[in-house]
């Protein structure tokens, strides 16, 4: 496993280690039996007799039904617990986001209808620790497209190709895809969520280590799927504020140049897309007026 850069990641590594231990035990048991049988119960030359006519053993069979049943039961409870602490089960929080989806999704009229229906449902995703309903420190909108990630900071109006977040703060990503299904994966955080056109999904995480981490698209999205990568910068609060300031200033001039400034060499091929992205807020305005 790569390093764990959030509290949730350490919990997941814990369950991985437990399952790996049980798995290794079972693996060694079965391979041991097979090897022992191959050596010990090999048919000797010239022996044409059969083995003993044992057709079964009910207590033994009950035993090897019951033990795996108990083991998977425990693993299921354990996984449930872990998933719950990750915030996977929080209908209330998820419902709020569902309403969000209604207002924020830049869609045409037909799609608004579809979203109207779905807004009563949940927005799907992961995160939102249940004890911290309003403790999201930073909300970022994420747009996925072939083959790039665009991050939209509501506060500063920053649009960037790389994600900057302050360490120790809870970050909520509201994600939507422009074309096909993508998946937002942070290997060092052990979290992943599909990003789906036509609906909003979300991810909430709290980084605990300053550093640079890869952001990977994990759902096949076209020929250059393998190149759809960017970087998550987890920064100290001071560095983050500095970055925020630097980029907010530029915003007032021209959105075009600001994006150019932010684009790293790897994401330069995005530039053709930037224009269409710039149109999105206007589209949204249009729809609100209708």
């Amino acid at each position: 496993m790569p390093i764990a850069a959030s509290d949730e990641a350490e919990v997941i590594d814990g369950i991985f280690d437990v399952m790996m231990t049980i798995g290794t035990g079972l693996f060694l048991l079965v391979q041991g039996i097979l090897l022992y049988c191959m050596v010990r119960f090999r048919r000797r030359k010239g022996d044409t007799t059969d083995g003993p006519p044992i057709e079964g053993n009910v207590p033994l069979e009950i035993l090897w039904t019951a033990i795996p049943a108990v083991v998977v039961f425990i693993l299921a409870i354990y996984s449930f617990e872990v998933y719950n602490t990750m915030g996977g089960l929080d209908p209330h929080a998820a419902h709020d986001v569902g309403l969000h989806a209604h207002h924020s999704a830049p869609m045409d009229q037909k799609n608004m209808l579809a979203l109207d229906l779905s807004s009563k449902d949940l927005a799907y995703g992961l995160g939102v620790p249940s004890e911290s309903e309003d403790q999201v420190d930073l909300k970022v909108k994420v747009n996925a497209m072939q083959y790039a990630w665009i991050f939209n900071y509501p506060q500063g109006g920053i649009v960037t190709g790389e994600l900057h977040v302050p360490v120790g703060k809870t970050v909520e990503l509201e994600m939507e895809a422009n074309d096909v299904i993508h998946a937002f994966w942070l290997p060092e955080f052990r979290i992943k969520q599909d990003v789906i056109p036509g609906r909003v999904t979300e991810l909430v995480f709290t980084p605990n280590k300053v550093g640079q981490y890869p952001i990977v698209c994990a759902e096949l999205c076209g020929a250059y799927h393998g190149g759809m990568k960017t970087v998550l910068y987890v920064q100290s609060p001071e560095d983050y504020q500095q970055w925020l300031k630097d980029n907010t200033v530029e915003k007032s001039e021209s959105t075009e140049t600001q994006k150019v400034a932010n684009a790293s060499p790897e994401t330069e091929f995005l530039l053709p897309h930037v224009k269409s992205l710039g149109l999105l807020p206007e589209l949204e305005q249009l729809h609100l007026e209708h």
Partner: protein, 551 residues
Amino acid sequence: MTTPLEVSNPHHIDSPQQRKWQDYFTFNTDHKVIGIQYLVTSFVFYFVGGFFAELMRTELATPASDFISPEFYNQALTLHGTIMIFLWIVPAGAGFANYLIPLMVGAEDMAFPRLNAIAFWLTPPGGVLLLSSLLVGAPQAGWTSYPPLSLLSGKWGQELWIMSLLIVGTSSILGAINFITTMLKMRAPGMDIHKMPLFCWSMLAASALILLSTPALAAALILLSFDLIAGTSFFNPTGGGDPIVYQHLFWFYSHPAVYIMILPFFGAISDVIPVHARKPIFGYRAIAYSSLAISFLGLIVWAHHMYTSGTPGWLRLFFMATTMLIAVPTGIKIFSWCATMWGGKISLNSAMLFAIGFVSSFVIGGITGVMLASVPLDIHVHDTYFVVGHFHYVLFGGSVLGLFAGFYHWFPKMTGKMFNETLGRMHFILTFIGLNLTFMPMHELGLLGMNRRIALYDPQFQPLNQLSTWGAYLLAISSLPLVIGVFWSIFKGEIAGDNPWNSLTLEWQTSSPPPILNFDTTPVVVKGPYEYGHNHSSVEDVKLIDAPQSL
């Protein structure tokens, strides 16, 4: 050895006792001909699908995209997955089932021979249609072909993919109807359902799954086809459609498909191990019923492929629970096979080596399967090489090794010749090393952060990828002893005789290869299929008497 079977029956003198080679290229309704047709066709597609796999592994030997274009890489991965599933493992299972079920239950043929021939003859056109997509730009959206990607990357290639799967799926449904009817209605006198060989039980379970789940795939494909060709928006979000509905319909078939692909070989292994370990199968009923349990549970686990998709938390947890539960019946089988070998007199021939290799590899796929069932871990490793490693241990380490175990076991029955043991064992050793070398590093790669379905990757993953590529080349080489062995054995192999393994199941009580109507006399079964350990020859165990009047 004189047996009642060798007394020729006057009823059959007018018909030829053996098939001519031309029969195998015609619309023949003999289940044995159809079985061989299925097997040969599926082996051809095994090599085609393997060729695409080697292309991908060669590309992945280096991090850059430098061997084939990324577009062609995606075409190769789509064709590799589709061919290996729909044109290799599924039809190979159907091939064994066709050849063996009537023989095992003591019937003359399948219940619906013409339907059976139609089912087979749908397969080659399906395969040709799929490969013809290479001419117009093969599909690039993976064997899962999730919309909207599948709607955006090459219309006609995708449409050919859809047509091909509809045809092959129809073939599979027709086959399943035939298998179920034959097993339930055409068993020989004395063959209680609990005296059926375990291969039949597992085919019963697999056929039920085919009948219940394949229509959902057909529905998904037809709607996808409308979206693609007619511009409807069932799954297309720009018209208000929902791509997640496709995923549900697709996995409602495609998870059971995993069991459709593994159950026949669970059955084959349950028949191979007792014969070569000279012991009764341990826990016949437990193995038989666990197949049915797997079949039932297999229908309610599909959304475990969608933990990171648009699914609510409670649904993810429900599917986690059902998925983990499958470990129980699967565990019963693994322990039962181990217990069958324990204390036996194991003959380490090619069939048995592949059977042991099957248990050994499949248990790895099973363990990683339980790990993947756990929602929190799967959220990390979903769509990574960990998953690729997992399902290749299940499908290659499981289905394909099981298939080879069955192949070596029934080769003498199908051809009348013994397979060359040296070549068979060489095939096993190369395959077993190759498969572990190819697929074991993939688990590590996935955990470290390498996602699947990519033509270009980060340089730090290169050493493990190269190991995997070497493994893949070894797997390619491992086919040589197999191919040479088949031709050598057919032309120069030792004559097998009726029952070279001294097996007790019915298919071995007739000649090798069996006469056109399988048994010259109607067999009457008086004992179970696995009553080894009493040290008498099979002929005494299974009485075969001529009783045409009573039928």
